[in-house]
């Protein structure tokens, strides 16, 4: 065995150092043109293929390199939070979950990307531009930290075959809110009379997991007139009687439907994908769920379901409020974000500028089968979205891009992001659904919690 001495160790270290010095310029050059990008895995493979194509096209056009990591939805969220907490961050990430833009914007953790958005500002929808902003509690200002990449809205998904099996017709579905959902209770009653033991009318996510229950509750809150719960200035209005009444009605309807047996009992413990799975298993007649994931997931394997059996109620189809007035839809966005501390902000910004060119970003959502919406109204007019042979896309894009839309309320005040993650509305629904509580009491409890949360986020 060779004798290891202090000198031999020093000689070896010097040689290693010299090698590093000689290689340094090459490593530095590579680093200058390389950006690391994290993105959430798609629900269908086509979404990932679309992303890889956009990245490959950019690399070819620019000569830069993108180190792309496509990560499953839940682990990516954990990875993003870990990265920002530790300070070891990639150059670009997608906003997963959407409210992470506002949560870490509040903490001054993002690079301002208004220069990137500016390149296509005229193209973006007004709602997308609003949702790309966040209030920064360090600078005491609102700024653009997100680059809108894609959007999603919450349509209704219906099994036409089950409605018809119950001896009813889609055309008979009422157009106003309560009557619309009551219709599916009748469908369930009729199916039960035919001996269907395990079919439920409504796929409400009365659960305290994932993002679905918050989206569901907010849809009901808006339908009952509670849209002023948080105004654009970030102020909370729980003392507004209209807001309180709307919250009570939403809790009563959603919790009551579960309590009365019109929602699958397991819904109380569902996670985000469980309602999709239950819908595909025909456990319920209809589901209120964000994106077109329900439809695109079966397009390849069950084209007959996609084209003939499943109906999407966007616009038209999505119910009006009880007075017959259309309800604006809350749109959630995936934004491109650059964390502070990113090593290659220049390439990350260049990539984002390339990515949001209408042709590129339009192709990105279309190759992903249209699960996500584009963020530029002009793109909704493409033959893909207006295809008369597709039963889902036209109504979906009308609802989420061309119709009346608003951003989610955490855009106005980050406290609403915590209301969403703490599942405050879910607990109110469950109080009524499972424990037989009164909606008024459940909402009093929820409002108290919401006030506590808002007290933590003081905006100038």
């Amino acid at each position: 065995m060779a004798r290891l001495t202090r000198r031999s160790v020093l000689r070896g270290s010097a040689a290693l150092g010299a090698t590093r010095l000689l290689a340094a310029p090459h490593i530095a050059r590579a680093a200058v043109t390389t950006a690391s990008v994290w993105f959430a895995q798609g629900f269908v493979q086509d979404e990932d293929v679309a992303l890889r194509k956009a990245v490959a096209d950019y690399e070819k056009a620019s000569g830069n390199k993108i180190e792309l990591s496509i990560i499953p939805f839940a682990p990516e969220r954990q990875k993003i939070i870990s990265a920002i907490t530790s300070g070891v961050v990639p150059d670009m990430i997608d906003s997963n979950p959407a409210e992470i833009l506002q949560i870490y914007g509040w903490q001054d953790r993002w690079v301002d990307v208004s220069d990137v958005v500016e390149t296509q500002k005229a193209q973006f929808s007004e709602t997308a531009l609003q949702a790309a902003q966040a209030y920064n509690s360090v600078t005491k200002k609102r700024a653009t930290y997100g680059v809108p990449l894609r959007a999603a809205v919450v349509p209704c998904h219906i099994w036409k075959s089950l409605v018809e099996k119950a001896g009813m017709k889609l055309e008979d579905i009422p157009k106003t809110w309560d009557a619309y959902f009551d219709f599916f209770k009748k469908v369930q009653d009729n199916l039960r009379k035919q001996g269907e033991r395990k079919v439920y009318g409504l796929g409400f996510q009365v659960t305290a997991n994932g993002v679905d229950p918050y989206n569901l509750f907010m849809a009901f809150l808006l339908a009952y007139g509670g849209q002023d719960i948080v105004t654009k200035d970030g102020k909370l209005h729980l003392d507004d009687p209209k807001v309180k009444q709307a919250a009570i009605k939403a809790t009563a309807y959603l919790g009551g439907a579960y309590r009365d047996g019109y929602v699958p009992p397991s819904a109380i413990n569902w996670n985000d994908a469980d309602d999709n799975n239950a819908f595909h298993a025909k456990l319920m007649v209809m589901d209120v769920d964000g994106t077109l994931s329900t439809e695109v997931a079966v397009k390849d394997k069950h084209p007959e379901w996609y084209f003939n059996e499943i109906v999407t109620h966007g616009v038209p189809g999505y119910p009006n409020d009880n007075a017959g007035k259309p309800i604006p839809s809350i749109v959630g966005y995936t934004n491109g974000l650059i964390p502070k501390g990113a090593k290659n902000v220049t390439v990350a910004k260049e990539f984002l500028k390339y990515f949001i060119q209408p042709k590129v970003i339009g192709e990105f959502v279309e190759l992903g089968l249209g699960r996500w919406l584009p963020v530029m109204p002009a793109l909704a007019k493409s033959p893909f979205w207006q295809n008369p042979k597709d039963p889902h896309l036209k109504g979906y894009v009308q609802q989420g891009l061309l119709g009346a839309t608003i951003p989610d309320y955490y855009v106005f005040n980050v406290a609403m992001a915590e209301v969403r993650t703490q599942h405050v509305w879910s607990l109110a629904m469950i109080d009524v659904a499972k424990d037989g509580g009164k909606p008024e009491a459940a909402i009093d409890k929820a409002f108290k919690r919401i006030e506590e949360i808002f007290a933590k986020y003081k905006m100038a």
Partner: protein
């Protein structure tokens, strides 16, 4: 030069010499260099992967305000009760069953060995897939258990995971099912280490059956049993998989234990410090457990 500077210069020299001698021990020249070369990677790994994460975790969960927020959270209060129940039932029922079963598997015969092989399967198969299977099996609408109950007896089964107590029960039973084989094997090894002469002598003196167990076997196994119980308690305090995959912490966050609540707070509500605080709040229980465990390990060296 005044007297003060003489003292100042002299002291570190004395300290350096002592430390160097202490580190070198009886090693000389290249022997010492080799020893350093071997130990440095271990120290680096220890500092990076053991010391640093612990110090970082303690630092992250060091603010008093985090604990005020945590203790005020009703979900945390429910979680503490769940954790205590999970520990008390999960550890003790499992260890007691393992003690009984280890006695059964001491019986001679090829069929006992075959049975033992089948018995250890739950422990041998991967955790996640089995817990996910249990979760699906207990689904109220289309789960295997309720379908079997309906097909065989026309009984509508309960919605096992919709109620706090049945869901927590499912978690505890799943844990016991998964880990009883492992502890049975450990206790079986302990029983086999009891010298035959002791058992034969006891038998001659009339200590057979229950008397043999009470007066001979259990006293000899007691230390091992206690160590296994303490170890199992420490393992269970950090358990995440069972709860996460069987009940998911639901319904309505009613079946969380500290491990799953920590992950929820850190990642679902994006408050990593609060997540660390939830896990750190178990330290007042973990530290005494580890101290007792260490003391018992020393005692065990001279017993069985």
């Amino acid at each position: 030069m005044d007297s003060t500077s003489v003292v100042d210069v002299g002291r570190p020299a004395v300290r350096r010499g002592t430390l160097s001698q202490f580190l070198r021990g009886s090693l000389k020249g290249a022997e010492y260099t080799w020893a350093v070369a071997f130990v440095v990677p271990y120290i680096a790994v220890f500092v990076t992967f053991v010391a640093y994460p612990i110090v970082y975790g303690v630092w992250m969960g060091s603010e008093a305000s985090l604990y005020r927020e945590l203790f005020a959270d009703p979900i945390y209060q429910t979680t503490v009760v769940n954790t205590v129940l999970y520990l008390a039932l999960g550890v003790n029922v499992k260890m007691f069953l393992a003690l009984l079963l280890s006695g059964f598997f001491m019986r001679p015969g090829w069929w006992t060995k075959l049975l033992l092989l089948i018995f250890v399967l739950p422990w041998a198969v991967p955790q996640v897939s089995t817990f996910v299977s249990i979760h699906w099996m207990l689904n109220g609408e289309w789960g295997f258990l309720n379908n079997a109950l309906y097909k065989l007896f026309h009984i509508e089964g309960a919605h096992w995971l919709n109620d706090r107590w049945t869901a927590l029960g499912a978690v505890i039973v799943s844990h016991i099912w998964k880990w009883t084989p492992f502890w049975t094997l450990i206790l079986l090894a302990g029983r086999m280490a009891i010298p035959l002469e002791i058992r034969d002598t006891a038998r001659v003196d009339g200590a057979t059956g229950v008397r043999g167990f009470v007066y001979i076997t259990f006293p000899l196994l007691a230390n091992l049993y206690l160590i296994c119980t303490l170890l199992s308690t420490v393992f269970l305090l950090g358990d995440f998989n069972t709860v996460y995959f069987v009940s998911g912490g639901g319904p309505a966050n009613l079946t969380h234990v500290l491990g799953t609540l920590g992950i929820r707070n850190a990642f679902d509500i994006a408050q990593p410090r609060l997540g660390v605080a939830a896990v750190m709040s178990a330290l007042p229980l973990v530290i005494p457990l580890v101290i007792v465990l260490m003391r018992k390990l020393r005692t065990a060296e001279v017993q069985l």
